[in-house]
């Protein structure tokens, strides 16, 4: 660790300064000459779309990467962080968007990992956990962060895990706390609790850098806000003086319509009817427990819920990827619960899965093969078991054009090298093109930038217009509120509440998401 700092300026109030930071990854400029300075004791927001370079910028402050050009100053001293450990020595901590927790460790073990205290027993150094646990309990009390060091991580929910991540920073006596998209998958109530914790932290003198693309949160807690777009710093605003519309326009780089108009629904026949469905996961735990729901043609039925409450398994069971333990699934009156995946597809299910790289695509295959996944085994794409490449190519070209799928070498492109947005467009295009009566979308916009999100949302609404029944499963409450005709809130494997979207506020949905009924 290099502590050879050079004092540059005596401004006491500035604690972090990034000057002219440029960072390239093979094939992309993630940060382009970005300069920001953060004052001690403020909540400083970094606003930008996915892929704007916010996380990369902060990863450099946190020592995960080193910048190609530019300098990092902390408390006026020039720093060269080569690892998170070195950044931690300067009291910098970070809560990552995807939690960095070891599932089969306890909360306490996760918190002390990397900064363990060791005592000697005879000649043997032994980890000493007891003192650490006491300190965690103490910190927990003084910051109002509810964590029990003896709990196993695997038994905790999302917001509890987040508290562990925050505790990790506090345990390391971090003064500069970086939060990377902390609210993405929390309920509104949990978001409020988190924002309170942040204010509490600010009161005790900590500096907070908040990475987010949600302007509302910034308005609630942040003092200042830097806006990044495509790796470049666009502007730094005082939150009090700026309007939401102004921030949104700066973030996206054009005028955005904040709320898309949704045409009135025309419901038809019931397409999907699920009754008392129960599903077990790999560990034989029942994760879907007696779910019943109906989706009509032309209806968007959105399942809202905090991650891990059985929604993925519900979708998998309907599509056939997972066996249902009991209950029935009827598609247009026909019981499909005994059908294979391919039979269900044939019966009229299109499925956009949650994890597009794990389920939706063959990353090592070319775009053509991936676009023909629903058809390669049927004529005219194959006859007597022999593939017809020319037909596949023709079809793939059509889809590429129709759904505006951009790639380097056309249909020959290896899907791995495409951007997330275009990968998702390929899946959505492939599935929609089947014109199925039922389309299941699970987390369709996860990790996409705003342009791609808009595109996908338009596609979903278009399918609704066409008269498809749509089952939308999303962890993002905003998305549910924006698109749903009917909302079903899932908690602990059960549908706690099903109601017209118009009759529920997002706060009410949030309450059900946390298991509070009535």
């Amino acid at each position: 660790m290099s502590l050879k700092g050079t004092d540059t300026r005596p401004d006491e109030s500035v604690i972090v300064e990034l000057r002219h930071i440029t960072k390239r990854f093979p094939g992309i400029v993630a940060n382009d000459d970005v300069t920001i300075s953060v004052k001690k004791g403020e909540i400083y927001a970094l606003l930008g779309e996915n892929g704007a370079g916010k996380s990369t910028l902060m990863s450099m402050l946190y020592g995960m990467y080193e910048p190609d050009h530019g300098e990092i100053y902390v408390r006026g001293k020039k720093m060269h962080f080569r690892s998170p450990a070195e950044a931690a020595e300067e009291n910098i901590g970070m809560v990552h968007q995807h939690f960095r927790l070891v599932e089969n460790f306890t909360v306490g073990e996760n918190i002390v990992l990397g900064v363990e205290t060791v005592k000697r027993v005879g000649i043997f150094p032994v980890l000493s956990m007891k003192g650490a646990y006491d300190r965690i309990r103490e910190l927990s009390k003084s910051f109002g962060l509810e964590v029990d060091p003896e709990d196993l991580i695997s038994e905790l929910g999302v917001s509890a895990r987040q508290r562990v991540e925050i505790m990790k920073m506090l345990y390391r006596e971090a003064e500069i706390l970086i939060f990377d998209e902390p609210t993405a998958i929390l309920t509104p109530q949990e978001v409020e609790a988190l924002l309170k914790i942040m204010e509490e932290l600010r009161r005790s003198g900590k500096t907070i850098i908040l990475i987010t693309h949600k302007i509302e949160e910034i308005r609630k807690v942040a003092d200042r806000c830097a806006i990044l777009r495509r790796g470049k710093l666009i502007d730094v605003l005082k939150v009090q003086d700026a309007s939401t519309q102004e921030m949104a326009n700066l973030m996206v780089g054009r005028n955005v319509v904040l709320n898309a108009e949704k045409p009135a629904p025309h419901f038809g026949e019931t397409v999907l009817e699920v009754e008392k469905l129960c599903v077990r996961n790999e560990d034989r735990v029942q994760v879907v427990r007696g779910v019943s729901l109906k989706v009509r043609a032309g209806e968007i039925f959105a399942v809202a819920g905090v991650s891990g409450n059985g929604q993925t398994e519900l979708a998998d069971a309907i599509a056939g990827l997972r066996k249902a333990e009991s209950g029935s699934i009827r598609l247009m009156g026909k019981d499909i619960s005994r059908e294979s995946i391919r039979e269900r597809n044939g019966s009229g299910i299109s499925y956009i899965p949650e994890d597009r790289q794990k389920y939706g695509l063959f990353l090592d295959f070319n775009l053509r093969s991936n676009l023909c996944l629903r058809r390669y085994f049927k004529a005219p794409f194959s006859r007597q078991g022999i593939l017809n490449e020319a037909e596949a190519e023709r079809y793939a070209r059509d889809l590429v054009e129709k759904y505006d799928i951009r790639s380097g070498q056309g249909t020959e492109t290896q899907v791995r090298s495409m951007s997330g947005g275009n990968q998702q467009k390929a899946i959505v295009g492939r599935e929609i093109e089947e014109h199925s009566p039922l389309v299941i979308f699970v987390q369709p916009t996860r990790g996409l930038d705003m342009g791609a999100i808009e595109n996908i949302h338009r596609q979903i609404l278009r399918e609704r217009e066409r008269g498809a029944a749509i089952l939308l499963i999303s962890l993002e409450l905003d998305e549910v509120m924006e698109l749903a005709d009917t909302i079903g809130v899932i908690y602990n494997g059960q549908l706690l509440k099903t109601a017209d979207a118009g009759s529920l506020t997002s706060h009410e949905v949030g309450r059900y998401m946390m298991g509070v009924s009535g």
């Binding site: 094939g27 593939l387 275009n422």
Partner: protein, 395 residues
């Protein structure tokens, strides 16, 4: 973390392509058209370089040694020949051993493309060779019946064994590497027991030789005045390579095999019946291994040494990886690796290095082949960096 592919979209070669020797070299490795050729070639060069150093350390001339490998396999003229044999005899002897090698490599490839490591090729070879020997090899059936029967038994036994492994993997989630190894040893002990108690030749301590009519190699055929052993196996092997290539590339079945091998979850999602596919591809892998077995034990040799698994089971993995797990690549790779294996005796007698060095060379080749992906990725990253820098300078 960053969307790496972004610049790949929309005309990635807009700027001038980078120049210089390193860049050229990197581009050759990355090239879509030649990459599957140049990366293995690069691995071969590295292997020759390292084994050359090893030979130098042993005080031998590497060039002379490498040349003697070629001489031993009938690719170059030896200093002297015995009566009635010549370069052509050596070449046919080479083909005789190359045939099972290619078949075994194809067996590995078929499993590998469906995501399964068939390490049990040696056992599958041994059992099918053993059963074909005792059922047909010790009978007095005429050649016209015996030879097709041998082939059928080889395929059937291999397919059954392979299917068994596939089933264990699919139904009970038993790692195929562990199960095939266990089955290898069981086969080796059990056949060893039977050979020792019933079929052993007391002088050679090996099994009794099988009948000439059942043997897949025609011995002492006179070609151009030289006595040669003409193997049926090589024809079968090359034909098998073409068929496997066709199945994998052009058929629905082959597409699904590759789909399961590439991403099991996505295959399941797109409606492929993954379990059936796994069992079937292991059956085909076993079938090819069975063919390798009969063309080895009833072709190349005509006897079985009890309790010995032939090293070809493993060498075929090297062959398959070197051939970029493509059937056509395997044809060339099996030629190369067989040159080392087959020429080792002659090399040993002329140069004076233990013949086991052939296995070492194969091992080193395997080592570099395993890093092939890394070489390619390094070249890709290097090119992207160059492009960025050029782009940066222009801006």
């Amino acid at each position: 973390m960053p969307p790496r592919g972004k610049t790949l979209e929309g005309g990635r070669r807009k700027g001038k392509t980078p120049r210089g020797f390193r860049a050229l070299f990197a581009r050759i490795l990355v090239s879509d058209r030649f990459g599957h050729l140049t990366v293995p070639l690069f691995c071969i060069l590295l292997t020759l370089f390292f084994s050359g150093i090893l030979l130098l350390l042993l005080g031998k001339n590497p060039l002379v040694s490498f040349y003697s490998f070629l001489q031993g396999s009938g690719f170059a003229k030896k200093a002297s020949y015995g009566n009635g044999v010549g370069m052509l005899s050596d070449f046919f002897a080479f083909l005789n051993i190359c045939a099972p090698m290619l078949l075994a490599a194809l067996a590995f490839i078929f499993g590998y493309r469906s995501g399964l490591f068939n390490i049990g090729i040696a056992g599958q070879m041994l059992l099918s060779g053993f059963l074909a020997t005792i059922w047909v090899g010790y009978s007095d059936l005429p050649g016209i019946l015996a030879r097709p029967l041998v082939l059928l038994i080889g395929m059937g036994v291999g397919a059954l064994l392979g299917g068994c492994v596939g089933f264990l993997k699919y139904r009970f989630n038993i790692h195929e590497v562990v199960s095939t190894i266990m089955i290898n040893y069981i086969i080796s002990y059990v056949t060893g027991f039977y050979i020792n108690s019933r079929y052993v030749n007391q002088i050679s301590r090996s099994s009794n030789v099988c009948s000439g009519a059942s043997r897949l190699t025609f011995t002492k055929v006179n070609i151009a005045g030289y006595s040669c052993s003409v193997p049926l196996g090589i024809g079968i092997a090359v034909l098998a390579a073409l068929i496997v290539q066709f199945i994998l590339k052009r058929t629905v079945f082959g597409f699904e095999v590759r789909a399961v091998g590439s991403n099991r979850n996505a295959a399941l999602y797109s409606g492929v019946s993954v379990g059936r596919q796994m069992v079937l591809s292991m059956m085909i892998s076993g079938l090819l291994a069975g063919l390798a077995g009969v063309s080895y034990y009833l072709g190349y040799t005509n006897t079985i040494i009890p309790r010995e698994l032939c090293s070809m089971g493993y060498d075929s993995i090297a062959t398959a990886l070197l051939g970029s797990s493509s059937p056509i690549g395997a044809v060339f790779a099996s030629v190369l690796i067989t040159i080392f294996q087959n020429g080792a005796s002659y090399m040993s007698s002329t140069v004076g290095v233990a013949r086991e060095i052939a296995s070492v060379i194969t091992g080193v080749l395997l080592l570099f082949s395993a890093c092939g992906g890394y070489f390619r990725k390094r070249a890709e990253d290097y090119l992207k960096k160059l492009e960025d820098e050029e782009g940066g300078e222009k801006a």
